[in-house]
């Protein structure tokens, strides 16, 4: 029983860490929703696109090489150089800001004051468009992220917990790194959102496009800023998830992991994304641990596996019943 308790604690801690990874994706959603009232379906694809761009730039890949070769009969693939990680990251951020500008210029500008569902549909189109452009630009093959991100079991925690409990806990260095980054992001974004002039302007735009315009807030600038920020967060999420699996098309599906986090934490709360992620992560891991264990099987006569995907949504729905706006979301009261 003591062993099972330790295993359960290990599952819970890993769940918390995994939840932070989910939060990295959810943060991008929150930022755009908070600042513009748009549920950005393309956030997962943005993570994929950002990670593809980072790897492509760093490895000196020629963008659209396949297209160029097909059109002009050339055989270009790489420039022949590789960039230092920092330079590649900065250039990728630049690309994501350019992307934000293009989204504002050619998509959002034409949808000012439209119904939220119209904006949502526009982001669905954007997601599919970006997925295609990403493939065309950088190729569909799986790419390895070449950044010095620590990965694998944390030896210190393993040996310390072994000394204390007789069982070494497994904590992935990647998850620890992600947690540190997520905490830094949450603090920075909260301060930015609550205390800076631009942050307050973001919130004003989210409340009412027309009203924000009437008091002199440049809607277009705000949208470029917020989509640029979301692009940066997408880069972080893409890198952290890409480090686990390589950068590939399926990276865009991490969106599915962010949705229950948003439902639980609220669409407008930056800390809510983190707390929500941790609750979802811990909840699904502990539930999986319990229902797949032999003692659960002995007691109930059956066991369950692969529960994480659906249990995360069940957990989020339970919270929704009691707090429809999510744990930290703003309760919207519209007076007639």
């Amino acid at each position: 029983m003591y062993d099972q308790l330790l295993y359960g604690i290990e599952a819970a801690i890993n769940g918390l860490m995994t939840g932070v990874m989910y939060s990295l994706v959810a943060l991008g959603f929150v930022l755009i929703f908070k600042a513009s009232g748009i549920f950005n379906y393309a956030q997962g694809v943005m993570a994929l696109f950002a990670a593809l761009t980072l790897v492509g730039i760093q490895s000196g890949q020629v963008p659209f090489a396949h297209l160029i070769n097909a059109l002009f009969g050339t055989k270009v693939h790489h420039f022949g150089w590789t960039l230092p990680a920092v330079a590649a990251i900065l250039l990728t951020i630049g690309v994501m800001i350019l992307f934000a500008w293009l989204v504002e210029r050619y998509l959002l500008k034409h949808l000012v004051n439209q119904e939220p569902i119209i904006l949502f549909m526009a982001t669905i189109g954007l997601a599919y468009f970006m997925e295609g452009v990403g493939d065309l630009m950088w190729g569909a093959e799986i790419k390895k992220i070449d950044l010095p991100i620590p990965q694998g079991i944390n030896e210190t925690i393993d040996s310390l917990t072994y000394d204390w409990f007789g069982y070494g806990f497994y904590i992935d260095n990647l998850d620890i790194t992600a947690s540190i980054i997520a905490i830094f992001l949450v603090i920075s974004l909260t301060i930015f959102s609550q205390y800076s002039t631009t942050g307050r302007a973001l919130r004003a735009v989210a409340d009412d496009h027309q009203a924000a315009l009437s008091v002199g807030i440049s809607l277009r600038s705000i949208w470029v800023i917020v989509w640029g920020l979301a692009g940066f967060i997408a880069l972080v999420a893409g890198v952290m998830w890409g480090a686990k699996s390589g950068v590939q098309s399926s990276l865009s599906l991490i969106t599915l992991k962010a949705l229950p986090v948003l439902m639980l934490g609220g669409f407008t709360s930056i800390p809510g994304a983190i707390i929500g992620g941790m609750i979802i992560g811990m909840g699904e891991k502990v539930f999986e641990f319990v229902v797949s264990s032999s003692w659960f099987g002995d007691a109930m006569g059956f066991t369950m596996n692969a529960t994480e995907n659906w249990f995360a949504y069940v957990l989020a729905l339970i919270f929704l019943v009691f707090r429809p706006q999510g744990l930290f979301g703003e309760k919207i009261i519209e007076r007639v």
């Binding site: 295993y7 290990e10 599952a11 890993n14 769940g15 995994t18 090489a65 396949h66 070769n69 009969g73 693939h77 997925e131 295609g132 493939d135 190729g139 569909a140 093959e141 799986i142 790419k143 390895k144 990965q151 694998g152 079991i153 497994y170 992935d172 998830w241 686990k244 699996s245 390589g246 590939q248 098309s249 399926s250 990276l251 865009s252 599906l253 991490i254 992991k257 891991k285 999986e288 641990f289 797949s292 596996n305 692969a306 994480e308 995907n309």
Partner: protein, 428 residues
């Protein structure tokens, strides 16, 4: 003037009435996009490049050129059915959807339409029973052969006994992933090993719970039955918990270059079962370089040539075009139909002579297909990844699987299908 006009009409009519050889239609149901696009592109490249090679070097097969038009599915079973319906009327000779889910959907359709389907190493395993599944083939090996070959390899490295050993099966939580379970359970009873089942939901980006369980329970071996991102994450997670890679073995859909490269040196020693050879040390690749790559006719960038999945696509294209040759000889016509193609597949004989003639000597085992046996001999070998050399190598010969366990499973499943669908014996 009038005579000249009449003569022209007559000549045109004669030309029109002359037998003109149509192309051999090989629709390529592929997926270069979507969550499994990286794998799908390599298979599609191998398939397409081999077809291009035959067209450019030999003028097709038996003097008839091949038309291998791709239809993109994004690994969507419904879209695969749409591709099938859209192309079958063009005289399609055979389909190979590269998806177990899509194969299940296409089996009743191809059976009704009389067009053969080749699910090489995937799909519904019991289609190996040609007495029930007249239009469907899965030679040279199927999932259950793969499970058995893996167990045989484990027996070999354990002095012939797995008594008291534990094997964990980490599988894609789908029809595909569940295929080997009956075989492994039966083999577990036979050889005395315990089997732990670890389902992983698609796509498989998050597997922490399963690998924590593996770390706790320390199974002697982990067998993985995955596709796409599930494989890359599993290999990385195995490395993270320091699970010995040489004890980690994948099905052939979990043993591609794409699966091992993202985790770098950590994947060194990882194994997988295969039904064909690895690498480019075969004459056919010289011809592909000359007639396809250098000619700028590659289906992709040319970078995939020689990867595991490229080779698999190429191997399948080779087996099917050899079936065309058999069909042409059987029926005495070059321009064959789908029904003739089916006959060609059912009478296919692959031996050293045939493989040598197409530049693939030793690439795969010798086998014969028959009316009763659409699954071939079920031979497999074990390949191992060398992360330093960035290459796979075969570490065993091709050897057989335990048909005393597999054949009853094939018979039971196919009999149930025959009963459900009122299918009479096709071979008597």
């Amino acid at each position: 003037m009038k005579f000249t006009k009449l003569a022209s009409f007559a000549l045109a009519a004669v030309i029109g009435a002359s037998p003109v050889l149509a192309d051999l239609e090989f629709p390529s149901i592929s997926y270069r996009t979507g969550p499994f696009g990286a794998n799908g592109a390599e298979v599609a490249d191998g398939w397409a490049d081999y077809m291009t090679l035959l067209n450019e070097r030999d003028g097709g097969v038996g003097g008839v050129r091949i038309n291998a038009v791709e239809c993109e599915t994004g690994f969507n079973a419904e879209k695969t059915v749409e591709c099938y319906e859209a192309t079958k009327g063009d005289g399609a000779l055979v389909y190979a959807p590269l998806s177990t889910a899509a194969t299940y959907q296409l089996i009743p359709r191809v059976t009704a339409d009389g067009i053969p389907l080749h699910s090489m190493g995937y799909g519904r395993t019991s289609v190996a029973n040609g007495d029930v599944f007249s239009q469907v083939f899965n030679f040279p090996a199927n999932y259950w052969n793969a499970a058995s070959v893996i167990v045989n390899h484990l027996l070999d490295i354990n002095d012939g006994s797995l008594e008291g050993k534990t094997i964990a099966l980490a599988y894609h939580n789908s029809a595909f992933g569940k295929e080997p379970i009956p075989t492994l359970e039966a083999l577990g009873e036979m050889h005395g090993f315990d089997l732990t089942l670890l389902p992983i939901d698609s796509p498989g980006q998050e597997q922490k719970s399963q690998w924590l369980q593996i770390r706790r329970e320390k199974p002697d071996y982990v067998v993985i039955w995955g596709w796409g991102v599930m494989n890359q994450v599993a290999i990385q997670e195995a490395a993270n918990i320091r699970y010995p890679m040489e004890n980690f073995i994948g099905v052939w859909w979990s043993g591609s270059d794409n699966d091992v490269i993202p985790s770098g040196m950590s994947s060194d020693g990882y194994k997988a079962v295969t039904f064909h050879a690895v690498g480019t040390d075969f004459p056919v690749f010289d011809d592909i370089q000359k007639y396809v790559t250098d000619a700028g006719l590659s289906a992709g960038t040319g970078a995939n040539v020689g990867t595991i999945l490229y080779n698999r696509g190429l191997y399948q294209a080779a087996l099917l075009t050899e079936s065309v040759r058999v069909a042409q000889e059987m029926h005495g016509v070059a321009d064959i139909t789908a029904a003739m193609m089916r006959d060609g597949m059912e009478n296919l004989v692959i031996n050293d002579e045939v493989m040598g003639a197409i530049g693939l000597a030793g690439f795969g085992p010798s086998f014969e297909v028959s009316c009763e046996n659409h699954g071939g001999p079920g031979l497999g070998a074990i390949q191992q990844w060398d992360a330093t050399a960035q290459s796979w190598s075969l570490i065993t010969e091709f050897s057989g699987s335990d048909m005393s366990v597999i054949q009853p499973l094939i018979d039971a499943d196919s009999s149930a299908y025959a009963a459900e669908n009122n299918i009479e014996s096709q071979c008597n």
